[in-house]
């Protein structure tokens, strides 16, 4: 057990930016919101999955909508309202909360209802990275219930999706309602039990995000290499180092798709890396050879400060380092790859794990 204090939030935000693999939105507003709630209600307890009891009921909460809307109509306590709504509907009181997505601003969302209600959060999430849609979670791949689901806006409107034929259908319906709600809704899932968390969640990821952020901050303060700090914290490797020389973008169906080309510097001087992204970075290749494929993590950070760069902020001339990390094991099974492997994103290639 540990406690998230105001001082930890900046570290979590940096770590969540790295694990966001280019997506998940900017965590600045989320960080301020969590800070405000921790200032008001006190630090939030974090439980590891083995500290859960058999009668614990854990609700997963997350934000749904558009990051650009969230920096204008900033979220309030929607996740808390959604949590209360699903409790009322199911008649089950939550004893803890858990994150849906450790990558980007969603990593901080459970801290807000947790601070308000005094409940702990579980050190886990349903992705171990960032993905753009509701159904792309390990929870649902391995049988945790994707419905009933509660959605809430900031005005006092809530909605329950009692039943659906798949998690993907929940995503479609929830997205349509979210637009009506003004695009910054939050959702809360049916409570999971301890066993479901242990079997379906990517574990210890809040700690991982904090440790990554701490390593980056410590290296910056001591004028050491923050990228080495990241790799000492979490096994992975430098895939490439260079300068962004080309950027192609197109937006279809609300997804920012594109390709970024990086020209090698130093030991990579004679090569080019290409990364295909759809909100998140999905496929990286060096001079035509695939070197990292979704669900493995492809993270672009600035070479000097290791500041994570989201896909919307990529720009010509940036000096970047591309890091690759193995996907959580839950994603690399046939069931996992069917949901979040390269073919699920329209790439006709087979997943081959990153070699580190």
């Amino acid at each position: 057990m540990w406690k998230v204090t105001e001082q930890d939030l900046e570290s979590i935000a940096i770590g969540a930016g790295i694990l966001g693999t280019g997506g998940g939105g900017n965590p600045y507003v989320g960080m301020l919101r969590a800070r405000q709630m921790i200032r008001e209600f006190g630090p939030v307890k974090v439980l590891s999955s083995d500290e859960l009891n058999s009668d614990d009921r854990i609700i997963c909460v997350g934000g749904i909508g558009a990051p650009t809307v969230g920096i204008e109509k900033m979220r309030d306590k929607q996740a808390y309202y959604a949590m209360r709504a699903i409790e009322d509907y199911t008649g089950l009181k939550a004893t803890a909360l858990v994150s849906n997505e450790i990558g980007g601003s969603n990593s901080l969302e459970p801290l807000i209802p947790a601070a308000i209600s005094g409940l702990p959060v579980v050190d886990a999430d349903g992705m171990g990275r960032a993905f753009p849609q509701y159904h792309l979670k390990t929870y649902f791949v391995y049988g945790a219930p994707y419905a009933p689901l509660a959605l809430a806006d900031e005005k006092g409107n809530t909605m329950i999706i009692p039943e659906a034929i798949s998690a993907h259908w929940v995503e479609r319906m929830a997205r349509a309602v979210t637009i009506q709600m003004g695009c910054v809704a939050c959702y809360a899932t049916t409570p999971m039990n301890a066993e479901q968390i242990r079997n379906t969640a990517v574990l210890d990821t809040l700690t991982l995000a904090k440790d990554l952020g701490d390593a980056v901050k410590r290296a910056r303060e001591q004028h050491e290499d923050p990228i080495a700090g990241i790799l000492d914290t979490h096994p992975g490797k430098v895939l490439f180092q260079g300068k962004i020389v080309d950027l192609e973008r197109r937006t279809t169906q609300g997804f920012a798709r594109g390709k970024v080309t990086i020209e090698g510097i130093g030991g990579y001087a004679d090569d080019h890396m290409e990364i295909e992204f759809q909100n998140e970075n999905l496929i990286a290749s060096i001079s035509g050879d695939l070197v990292c494929i979704v669900p493995d993590l492809i993270c672009i950070v600035d070479t000097e400060r290791a500041e994570p760069i989201t896909t919307e902020l990529l720009r010509y001339g940036f000096r970047v380092t591309v890091l690759g990390f193995p996907a959580p094991d839950l994603w690399t099974t046939p069931e996992g790859l069917a949901v979040a492997g390269p073919r699920a994103f329209g790439y006709e290639v087979d997943y081959t794990p990153i070699v580190i």
């Binding site: 301020l32 990051p67 109509k73 003004g182």
Partner: protein, 512 residues
């Protein structure tokens, strides 16, 4: 003829321009009261004015209001009224401000009903009585400036406009700033910028009046304009209401001046001073704007600031030999006393440029102990750093013209990797004052359109028209107005096809 003045931290520069011809230039020390420095500079250039010619306008760039914010001096009591309820209550206005600055301006904040959704629906209707109550409370608290910020006011400005009118009705004399007139999407940053403006209105009015008096005391009957950070001008009356637009007008004027002096409209300007180098990109003769939040006095803002990339390298940067290190320490303006070639005992980049044969200043004999190969190694490292600045500012790999200004330009050779051409315009020393004197005004629009209601073409046409109208409203000759920037960004994770459009129109000042 026109007079351009740049009030910097050290010098107040002035130029007298006849059309495109530089008639006179001067450098005078900046004074604490600002106006005496301006008076001396004005007098100096007016002495060179032909008897028959008349001065049609005075254009001024100043860092005075930026300094007021940085030093927390002369700031007015300010309030921020957010139109949002029942949304965005968790993070109230001024949430991430430095405590001292918030205390210095009083920090009164009000949340009331109103504001819009991303697609233009109302979050809730305005409650006029609630706004009147807030306005009374502001008056009772001695507030002088009010920032009004509505959720999604870049989509629909009507609530901010109505709330502003109610405040003026209820508490006449309060100076109202609407956030939609200042910044873009991103409520905290836009609201912050509007509040910074609100706390500057008194100092702006006093300073601008003093400068106007100084101008008329010399018998000049010419209108006064102030430089904005986007490279256009605002008249003195508008400037008194929108002082925040002068922030960062220094680098902007330097870039605009460099464009004018070199004739290059699209390229990279590198201003190499004594301590630091500032680079910026010119797009159609205007500085490219920063796309991320810019920090002003510890406050995050998102209004149209120039995209400047700076490194700690200049003509006064100190060079250490073993191990070789260039900067970040600098002798700054004391270069002419402390540099080796000027008889001092500090080894600087300028000494290296002299030994390497790039410059002929001071007494090269005084730096005789430095080997030529060492000097060339240092110059080569400087070259690499400047090339990196240029590269960071480019949007693609194609070579672009590079314009060097600032005294430190002697550190750089005549060719740079990534540059199609390296230009060093004459009179680069007064580029800022020349940049101020370029008589153009503009209008800018940034809005979010939902393409389920209008077509993309209709949305763009409507934004173009609005930007053009704003430019004409600011004093542009309608015949000369052109669109200089169009940016269109679709909103991600939103399958309803909403798009953010930013358009800027610029024209020449009418009647000039």
């Amino acid at each position: 003829m026109r007079i351009g003045i740049d009030v910097g931290g050290t010098n107040t520069d002035a130029v007298l321009l006849d059309g495109d011809v530089l008639v006179a230039q001067t450098k005078q020390p900046t004074t604490a009261d600002v106006t005496s420095g301006i008076l001396s500079a004005l007098k100096a250039v007016l002495e060179r004015k032909p008897e028959t010619a008349s001065v049609e306008a005075v254009m001024l760039g100043t860092t005075h209001f930026t300094n007021a914010l940085l030093e927390h001096k002369q700031l007015s009591q300010a309030a921020t009224l957010r139109l949002c309820l029942p949304a965005t209550t968790l993070l109230p206005p001024l949430i991430d401000w430095p405590d001292e600055l918030r205390t210095a301006i009083g920090g009164y904040t009000y949340l009331v009903h109103g504001g819009h959704e991303f697609d233009g629906r109302e979050i809730s209707p305005l409650d006029e009585e609630e706004i009147r109550k807030a306005a009374k409370d502001m008056r009772n608290n001695g507030v002088r400036g009010v920032a009004v910020s509505g959720v999604f006011s870049p989509v629909d400005t009507s609530h901010e406009e109505r709330a502003g009118a109610i405040i003026r009705e209820e508490s006449p004399g309060l100076n109202v700033t609407l956030s939609s007139e200042i910044g873009r999407v991103g409520i905290l940053e836009r609201e912050n910028a509007a509040t910074l403006n609100a706390c500057l209105v008194d100092v702006a009015e006093r300073t601008i009046n003093a400068i106007r008096n100084a101008i008329s005391s010399l018998g000049l009957d010419a209108p006064l304009f102030l430089s904005q950070n986007d490279g256009t001008l605002m008249d003195a009356e508008f400037a008194a209401s929108y002082p925040v637009f002068t922030i960062a007008s220094g680098p902007t004027n330097s870039m605009r001046g460099a464009a004018f002096l070199s004739g290059v409209l699209d390229g990279i300007v590198v201003d190499i001073g004594g301590t630091s180098t500032d680079g910026g990109a010119l797009v159609s003769g205007f500085p490219r704007e920063a796309s991320v939040a810019v920090n002003v006095g510890g406050v995050r803002t998102n209004f149209r600031m120039p995209d400047v990339f700076s490194i700690a390298l200049g003509g006064g940067s100190i060079v250490q030999i073993d191990p070789l290190q260039i900067g970040p320490g600098s002798v700054g303006y004391r270069l002419v006393e402390e540099g080796l070639v000027f008889g001092g005992n500090v080894l600087t980049t300028t000494d290296m440029a002299v030994v390497a044969g790039l410059a002929d200043i001071g007494n090269s004999g005084l730096a005789g102990g430095i080997g030529k190969s060492l000097a060339e190694a240092v110059i080569s490292e400087i070259q690499t750093r400047i090339e990196n600045v240029v590269d960071q500012l480019k949007l693609n790999a194609a070579p672009v013209p590079v314009i060097l200004v600032g005294g430190g330009n002697i550190l750089v050779k005549d060719s740079l990797a990534g540059a199609s051409d390296v230009l060093r315009p004459e009179y680069a020393g007064v580029a800022n004052a020349i940049g101020a004197a370029i008589a153009q005004v503009g209008g800018q629009v940034e809005k979010v359109y939902s393409l389920s209601d209008v077509s993309r073409e209709e949305a763009l046409a409507s934004a173009r028209q609005e930007a053009t109208d704003k430019a004409v409203g600011a004093g542009a000759d309608p015949a000369t107005v052109e669109i200089v920037e169009v940016e269109e960004v679709p909103l991600a994770y939103l399958p309803s096809n909403a798009v953010r459009v930013r358009i800027k129109a610029v024209g020449n000042l009418a009647n000039l």
